[in-house]
């Protein structure tokens, strides 16, 4: 369980970046944080991991206040995938990279067990292990960074714009692996994302932010159907939802191409 209680944060010599933020995220939830640039999304996820400490209020993860614990001690439970994978990668091969994360937080399990776990992850992600990370494409490097985080088996996964700069296929690759972890291993996922189609496809709950404040919190389709909220937060809803809103009555549940086709056929039958 993650809980933010009246959290405020301001960078030195700047106005407040995040103000009066309060919400709870339960185990196994897939939450997207939405908002325009400068809304405070990245600051919020950095606060959740304790990379920055709130100026007031509390961030509590599994009963522990992040202000009184260290980020490195939390790495076993909380994984953070940054927008730029190159900041995370520091080894010469993919296998070494995955082992580096494992040795850092699960060193007590011994070399054999960690080697076995690294092999499992390599197979899961389709790497041989001998690839040089910095020679791979950006999407592949992002997958290496994700693999080294998921190898540790965290119970919370924070993703800061994980699909930026990736093509559609690479996006789906990464997001499918994250969804699998979420569904099969009950990993809590908190994702900052500008791609609303991805949010609609993968997240179940959305937190909408603007000017450092939380505007709304609810199920993703419901949030996207709130036109006034979308406008206030400067968010363009996914195409299907935008279309269904324009079509009006009878299309309320049409948020995918399939459900849109069904709704059209239904209307056709009705004459």
């Amino acid at each position: 369980m993650i809980e933010l209680d009246k959290v405020c944060f301001a960078y030195p010599a700047q106005g407040p970046t995040v103000q009066d933020l309060s919400f709870r995220i339960g185990d196994g939830e897939f939450v997207a944080i939405l908002g325009a640039n400068g809304a405070g999304k990245t600051t919020t996820v950095r606060l959740i991991d304790g990379l920055i400490k709130p100026t007031s209020g509390r961030v509590i993860i599994d009963g522990t206040d992040t202000a009184s614990s260290r980020v490195s001690d939390r790495a076993r439970r909380v994984g953070f995938l940054f927008q730029n994978p190159d900041r995370q990668i520091c080894k010469n091969t993919v296998r070494e990279e995955i082992l580096f994360g494992l040795e850092t937080v699960r060193g007590e399990e011994g070399a054999e067990a960690l080697g076995h776990r690294a092999d499992e992850v390599l197979q899961e992600f389709g790497f041989t292990g001998e690839e040089e990370p910095f020679s791979l494409s950006r999407g592949q490097r992002q997958r290496v960074a994700l693999a080294s985080i998921l190898a540790v088996e965290p119970s919370v996964l924070i993703l800061d714009e994980p699909t930026t700069g990736l093509d559609y296929r690479e996006c789906c690759h990464i997001m499918d692996q994250i969804r699998t972890m979420n569904r099969e291993k009950n990993v809590t996922v908190i994702m900052v994302c500008h791609d609303m189609e991805i949010v609609l496809d993968y997240a179940s709950r959305a937190l909408v932010m603007s000017g450092g404040r939380l505007l709304d919190d609810g199920p993703v389709p419901e949030i996207f159907r709130n036109s006034a909220l979308m406008e206030r937060a400067s968010i363009l809803p996914p195409q299907m939802i935008g279309l269904s809103l324009r079509l009006g009555r009878g299309f309320e549940d049409a948020d995918t191409p399939e459900s849109m086709a069904d709704a059209i056929l239904r209307r056709k039958k009705e004459g």
């Binding site: 260290r70 490195s72 953070f80 190159d86 900041r87 994360g101």
Partner: protein
């Protein structure tokens, strides 16, 4: 993010000076610091450094630089005092000459470094580049290289902080280590920093190239950097400083 080398906008007399004059003043202070061994003259130069910062309205930055240099200076002072054997012992193995020599070294370090950092705080890098090209006839390519190198320093620091943050989130105990241990943990991270730096440099080079970098000449700059009475007064001050350093060696 506010870095030590970042430009602080302002309209002080120092801000209004010709960039070449500011650079000359900086160089003269450095030259004087190396020409003299007189502790009082070095203290006077330090006072000039501080005065420049205060007159420029960047007192906060000046004190920040001063504090940072003091920390390095303290380490150097101890090292120098312990390693000098000449002179009369005053305490344990520390001699009077050791103390005087250490004092000179650290004062010289502070006096030399402060104006170099301050000139960047009160001069836009682009103004410095253009003025160098316009008045000192430095080829634009070299001036641009210098400006880019300076501009990259805070970016590298930011990148390094980002890398350390990312590694801390992976469990590397940067938030627990101190001193040499922390330094030894940073060393392996030089690879990602180097790679990102090379990528960034390459991108900058390509971006400059596609914008016609090689076509730029001395006449391309639209801004003119003239010398005023203020600059003349500064030249006179520089001459006096230099004369003082020669006389009080």
């Amino acid at each position: 993010m506010n870095h030590v080398l970042q430009y602080i906008p302002g309209n002080s007399v120092i801000h209004r000076m010709n960039p070449v004059t500011k650079l000359l003043l900086t160089i003269i202070i450095c030259v004087c610091a190396f020409m003299t061994d007189n502790l009082f003259f070095l203290l006077g130069l330090l006072a000039v450094d501080l005065m420049i910062g205060f007159v420029a309205g960047v007192a906060g930055r000046t004190l920040k630089i001063f504090r940072g240099l003091l920390m390095i200076a303290a380490f150097l002072f101890i090292l120098q005092a312990l390693l000098t054997r000449r002179g009369t012992p005053v305490f344990w193995i520390i001699t009077d000459e050791g103390l005087m020599g250490a004092g000179r070294v650290v004062l010289r370090l502070i006096v030399v470094c402060m104006p170099l950092a301050l000139v960047l705080a009160v001069t836009r890098i682009s103004d410095l580049t253009n003025a160098l090209v316009q008045h000192l006839h430095v080829p634009y390519q070299y001036a641009f290289t210098l400006a880019t190198a300076i501009r990259f320093i805070p970016q590298f620091l930011e990148e390094m902080n980002g890398i350390m943050e990312a590694q801390t989130a992976r469990g590397v105990a940067f938030d627990q280590a101190r001193g040499l241990k922390k330094f030894s943990m940073i060393l392996p991270l030089c690879a990602p920093l180097l790679i990102s730096s090379v990528r960034r440099t390459d991108q900058t080079a390509v971006a400059a190239e596609v914008r016609g970098f090689r076509l730029r000449t001395r006449a391309s700059a639209y801004r003119r950097y003239t010398f005023t009475a203020l600059d003349a007064a500064t030249f006179l001050f520089c001459a006096l400083l230099l004369a003082g350093a020669i006389l009080i060696r």
